[in-house]
Symmetry: D2
Subunit: 364 residues, 4 copies
C-alpha cells in the first residue's frame, strides 16, 4: 500500500525490476488532451539516455497505452501505461538472493513483508521509476496547456559542482544533464575514477518550474512544498530536499532572506517560489540530495537471512551514480505534484492566475 | 483543502491565529489509550516554554477534549481537541492589513483565495501548530505503547552549532532545547544581538525516533522518509528536510555511505534508520532547515493589495527565531507519521517487529 | 476511523450524545461564500422541529463557528462548527449500561472497540447527525450559488403512504415533512397508536435535487449514485437506498424503464437523474428505507456484557419514528455529495453545464 | 477520477470495452497469500458462464498477472491483473456512434467529458467489471484465510422469484445462479419470451457473507453497510441496495424488526448482520435491484449529438438481463469491502473476533 499518488490527478504504479512489466495507471486526467505513445516515449527515453557512463543494460522500454486514450485524445477515463520488462536475466542475483546488500532495501523489505522478490531488487529497484516517468509525461501535457514547464538539471556529482547556471537550457543536451559544459567534463572524469575504484558517488539535482500561477498548494498539510518534498523524497536514493535557499536559509537573517516586493514583483527568490505553502507566481526551485549508488564492487560486510556474517561485492551492469538517470524522474514527480494542485485549485477558483503585479507586467 | 493528515491515524486541524479557537480532530486512534487534558497540555506547554527569548505573548492554550475520550480512555471515536484563542488583540494588524509582509503568506493567500483573514496572519500563523501539537500528544501515547520515543533538539541557531551531542536528554531542560549548554549560551547571545538589530535568524532542528520497529513505511509513494519529509516541510518556516546523512551523502561515496551489516546489526547509520523507504529498526534521524522569522523591525519594501509600493516595519511581540518553539511541532509531526505507519503495518502483519539480529541482541 | 466524508469538499464530524460537544470541520469549502451562525442554525432547527410527536428533549443546539469564516465569508480554510451538548442527563442510562439494547449498536461497538461510551448511545446516537446537518448547511450555500436545490420529504410512515406528490413544497411546513396533508394526519394517528402500544415504526424518505448540471459523478467507483447510496446508508436507521425507479426497475422491462429522449430532453425519469453514475441534468430522485426506532417500551430479551440473559424495556424521551427528524439529515448528506462532485467536476471542466437540449429550452 | 476503491486494500481499475485491455491494480494486499493465474481465472470464468441465455460474445478473458506475485505468493507490492480485449468488432457501433442510446451512459459521458469512446460503450460497458472480478479474486483469497465466504445468487428475474432458499449452495451450479431449480426454469422461460419480444428485464440479486467477525465497519461515514451500498451501487445497472430486511423494515415495527438477543446469540437477523454500521458476527445479507438491460431491439426515440431527433434499435449480441453475469460482480464488490475493512480493523485491534456468545457456542 502506498503506490497511489495525488488527490485529483492520481497515479498508481506497479511492477518489479525482473517481473513481467512495470507501469502506471493515471486516473483523473482531464479529457481532450493529446497523448500518444510517442509523446510518452520521449520522456522514457530521457530516463534511458543510452549515453556513456550510464548502465549498459539496454532497456527497450516501449510504452503501451492500454486504455484511456481514444483517437489520440484522453477521454477522462484511466490511462494505463504499460512497459514490458525485456532483457531480463535474474540468474546473476541467484548467488546473493539470501544476502542483504548494504545500502539497499533488501533487509527492510524482508522485515516488512516476510518475503521478497530478490530478482534485480524487485519493487525497490530504480526500474520502478518507469511508471513515474510515463505518468509524468501525461502530467507534462496537462501542464503545457497551462503554460507550465518543468526542467531539471545536474547541479553536482561526486563533489563537482556546476558553476555556470546562466544557460540551463543546455542541460537537456548534455550527457549528464549538466548545464555547465566544463563542469560536466569534470563530473565525467570523476565518474570514471570512481568506477575504476569499484566505488560510487552521489550528487545534487535541481528542478525548476516556470509559469506556475500563484495560488497552487493547500495549507496546512498539502502545502505545495510539502507535497514536492514527499514526491521527491519518495524517489529511491534521495536523502534530502530543499526549497529555494533551503538549508542556507537556516544560516541567513530575515533581512537578507525575505524577498522584498515592488510593483514589478518579487525582487529576489529565496523562497523558491513558494510562500506559506502556496505558489507565488515566481519560479519554483527545488533541490534534492542523491546518495551514492549502494551497489559497489568493493567488498562489504553483511549478513544472510539467517543472520550469519558474509562478504558481498556487487558486480554487474550498475550505474556509478543515480544521476543523470534520476533527473527525468525528479522532473516527473514535480510535474505530478503540479498537475494535481492545478486541478485542485481549479476546483475552488475560476481564475487560476491572480494578477497583482500589473505595474511590472505592463513594462515586460 | 489539505487540512487532514494520515491514512489510518488521521488528524484534521482548524483555526486561525485571531479566530475563536484552534484545534484538531484525531480520527482512527485505537481505543483504550489513556488520554487526559493534562497529558495533552504537557505537550502544548513545551510549545509555549514561557522562557526568555521567546515571544512574550502569553498563550494560556488550555486544551479542551470535547469528544472521543470516556472515563479517561480513548473510545475509538474522533477525539476533538480544542484550544480557545485568548489574549488576542487584532488592532495592531489594522494598519498593515492591506500590505503584503515580505516572507509571509499574505500575498499567496490573497492570490489563492481572493480574500484573507489578516488578523495575526490568520491560518498561516504559527498559531496553527497548536492543533498539530495537541494531536501529536495523542500519537505520543500510542507510540509509547509500542516502545517508540521521539525527541527533537536544536542543532543550530543563527550559525551557532551544537557540537556536543552525547547527552541529548539535556535538550528538554534547556531554554533553547539545545543539548550542548555552551552552544546554547552562544545561541542566546546571537539571538540577543539579532533582536537588537531588528532582524531575525533561522536554524536547524534534528529529530530522532528510537524504538521504531523495522518494517514501517509504504513504498513507493508513502515511504517513511517521504511521509516524514512532507510532514516536516508542511510546518511553516521549514525550507529543507534531510534524512540521515542527507545532503552530505551527496558528496560521499558508496563505500563510506553504505551502512555495513554484521550479526550484531548495522555498523553505522548514514541511512538515518530508513532503507528503501522502510524503517530498518535503527534510530530514525531527520533534520529540518528553519528559515529566519520573516517579521522584522527593519524596514522593507513591499506593495499593497492594489500594487502600490509601500514600506513596512513589523514590530510587536514576535520571536526572533522560530526555534525553540518549532521543536515540539517537529516532534509532533514525526509522531503523527509514525503512529499512522504503525497502524498501517499492523493491518498487514501480525508481527510488528522482525527479529533478525538475534546474535547482537543476545549480547546486549 | 471513517469520520471524514468527501474528496474535495471534506467533512469530518465528531462527538458523542452525552459528551461535551458534537460538531464538524468542513475543509475544502471555496472562499467567499456567505456563512453565518444564523444560516447554519436554520438547518439545525429543521432537524429539531420542536413539534408534536417528536422527542421532548429540548436541544438548544446553538452552533458556534470557531474558524474559517471572516467578516461573514468563508476564507477557504477549515470551518469548525461546534454545538455544545446541553440538557444531558446520563443517569437514566446507568441501569442499562451493561445491557445490549436490541437493534442498537451497543453490542457491535463493544465488539469492535472493547469499550464504549454508553451514555445516551455515545457516538452511535442520532445526536451524531448534528455535525452532518451543520456541514450540510455550508454545502447548501455552495449549491445555491450553482442553482442547485435539495429537498426531502416523508413518503411513508408506519405503512401510511403519501399519495399526493403534486405540491412537494408543502412538505417543509408540515409537522411530519409530508407533502400530503391528509396522509400526514393519518401518519400522526399511526404514530399515536404505536406510541401507546410502546412500540415504534419505520418509513420511507424521498429526496430530490433540482438544478443539478449534467456531468457530476466519477465512474467507476465514485459514481454519483454510488456516493449517494453510501452517504444515505451511513445514516443510522437507514436500511435501503434506491435511485429513480429503484427496486421497481427490477420488475420492469427495458422498453418501459428506459427514458427515451427527444429534442426537448428526457421524456421520463425512471433513471432518477443519473445514467452511468453521472448526473443527466434531470431531477435526482433517491429514496431511503428507515427502520423502526429500536428503543421501545415493550419488553425484549437481551444479554449483558457477560453473556447472561436479561430483560430490557427502554423508556424515556424517545421518538417513535426516526422520521421526520431524519429528513434534514438525508438532505444534508445529499448536499454533501453534490457539493463534493460539483467541485470535482469543476477541476476537469471549465463548463459545468452541457447544453444539448437546445430545442426544448428555447421553448421554455 | 473515481477508479480507485478501498482505503487499505485498494483497487484501481482501467479499460474500455473495445480498447486494448481491461484490468486492475490491487495495492495493499498482505504478503504471502497464494495467488495464481488459475485462481483468478476461476472467478473471471464465473462471470462468463458460456451458458445458454447469456451473450454469445466469446470472451477469452485470460488474466495476466504482471506484477506483485513471486513464486506463487503475493509480495505486498501492487498486483497488476490485465486482460486483453479480444474478439472485438467496433464496426457495428459506427452507425450509432452519434446517437445517445436511451438508458445508457452515452449522453452523460458526452456531457461530462465532452468526448467519448463510443466503441462498445467504452468505459461504461459491463466489460469494465472484469477488473472488479479479477481484483475480487485476490480479496477472496485474503478472506478465505480469515474464514469468510461470500456467495451471491439470483433471487428474482423478470418478476419470477426464487422461493426455495434452503439450499443456496445449489446456486453456483445453476445456469442462472438461482438456488431454486423450479424458479430457474421459469426465469429461463421468461428470458426467452422477453428476448423474442426484443425487450429486456431486470431482477434482484442477493449476496450473503458468512464467517464475518463482529467489529468490521468504521462509523460514521465508512460504516460497513454504507460501504457495501456504495460498492454495489457502483455496478452498472444497479438501482437499489438494501441490507437485511431493507425496505420491508420501513413497514415493520420495532418489536418485530429488532433482533432480540439470547446467550446463544441473536434470535433473528432482520439487521442483515450489521448494527450501527458494524458487523455483528451474524451472516451479512444484502440485496441489489438490477434494472433491465437498456440495449433492446425495440425501436426507441432519441437524439443525436446535435440534438436532432432519431430512432434507434439496438441489435447484436446483447444479454436480455444483466443477471446472471452480474452475480460474480456483486460478490467481488462485497469481497473488496470486507477485505478492506478486515485490514482496517486489524490496524486497531489485535483480536479480530469478539467472543461474547460463549453460551451458545459451547452447545454448538
Amino acid at each position: 500500500m502506498g503506490n497511489t499518488f495525488g488527490r485529483l490527478f492520481r497515479v498508481t504504479t506497479f511492477g518489479e525490476s525482473h517481473g513481467a512489466a512495470v507501469g502506471a495507471v493515471v486516473d483523473g486526467c482531464p479529457p481532450n488532451l493529446e497523448i500518444s505513445d510517442d509523446y510518452v516515449q520521449l520522456e522514457l527515453d530521457r530516463r534511458r539516455p543510452g549515453r556513456k557512463l550510464t548502465s549498459p543494460r539496454k532497456e527497450a522500454d516501449a510504452v503501451w497505452i492500454a486504455s484511456g486514450v481514444f483517437e489520440g485524445r484522453t477521454t477522462g477515463t484511466p490511462i494505463a501505461l504499460i512497459v514490458h520488462n525485456r532483457d531480463v536475466d535474474s540468474s546473476k542475483y541467484e548467488s546473493i538472493k539470501d544476502l542483504f546488500r548494504p545500502g539497499h532495501a533488501d533487509f527492510t523489505f524482508q522485515a516488512k513483508y516476510g518475503l521478497r522478490d530478490w530478482r534485480g531488487g524487485g519493487r525497490s529497484s530504480a526500474r520502478e521509476t518507469v511508471g513515474r516517468v510515463a505518468a509524468g509525461a501525461v502530467a507534462k501535457r496537462l501542464l503545457e496547456g497551462a503554460g507550465i514547464s518543468v526542467n531539471g538539471f545536474t547541479l553536482e556529482i561526486g563533489g563537482v559542482r556546476a558553476e555556470r547556471l546562466d544557460a540551463l537550457e543546455n542541460a537537456a543536451g548534455d550527457a549528464l544533464f549538466c548545464p555547465d559544459a566544463a563542469a560536466s567534463s569534470r563530473m565525467a572524469e570523476r565518474l570514471g575514477e570512481v568506477k575504476r575504484a569499484g566505488d560510487s558517488v552521489g550528487g545534487i539535482v535541481e528542478v525548476r518550474a516556470a509559469g506556475v500561477p500563484a495560488g497552487l498548494g493547500e495549507p496546512v498539510f498539502d502545502k505545495l512544498d510539502a507535497e514536492l518534498a514527499r514526491a521527491l523524497m519518495s524517489i529511491g536514493a534521495v536523502k534530502g530536499v530543499e526549497i529555494g535557499s533551503g538549508f542556507a536559509a537556516a544560516r541567513s537573517t530575515g533581512s537578507s532572506n525575505n524577498d522584498q516586493i515592488g510593483p514589478e514583483g518579487f525582487r529576489s527568490n529565496h523562497a523558491g517560489g513558494i510562500l506559506g505553502g502556496i505558489s507565488s507566481g515566481q519560479e519554483i526551485i527545488v533541490r534534492v540530495a542523491v546518495k551514492p549508488i549502494p551497489s559497489i564492487a568493493l567488498e562489504q560486510d553483511t549478513i544472510d537471512s539467517s543472520g550469519r556474517p558474509a562478504k558481498i561485492s556487487v558486480t554487474g551492469r550498475h550505474d556509478v551514480c543515480a544521476i543523470p538517470r534520476i533527473v527525468p524522474v525528479c522532473e516527473a514527480m514535480v510535474r505530478l505534484v503540479l498537475a494535481d494542485h492545478l486541478l485542485r485549485q481549479r476546483a475552488i477558483s475560476e481564475r487560476i492566475f491572480e494578477r497583482i503585479f500589473t505595474g511590472g507586467r505592463s513594462d515586460g
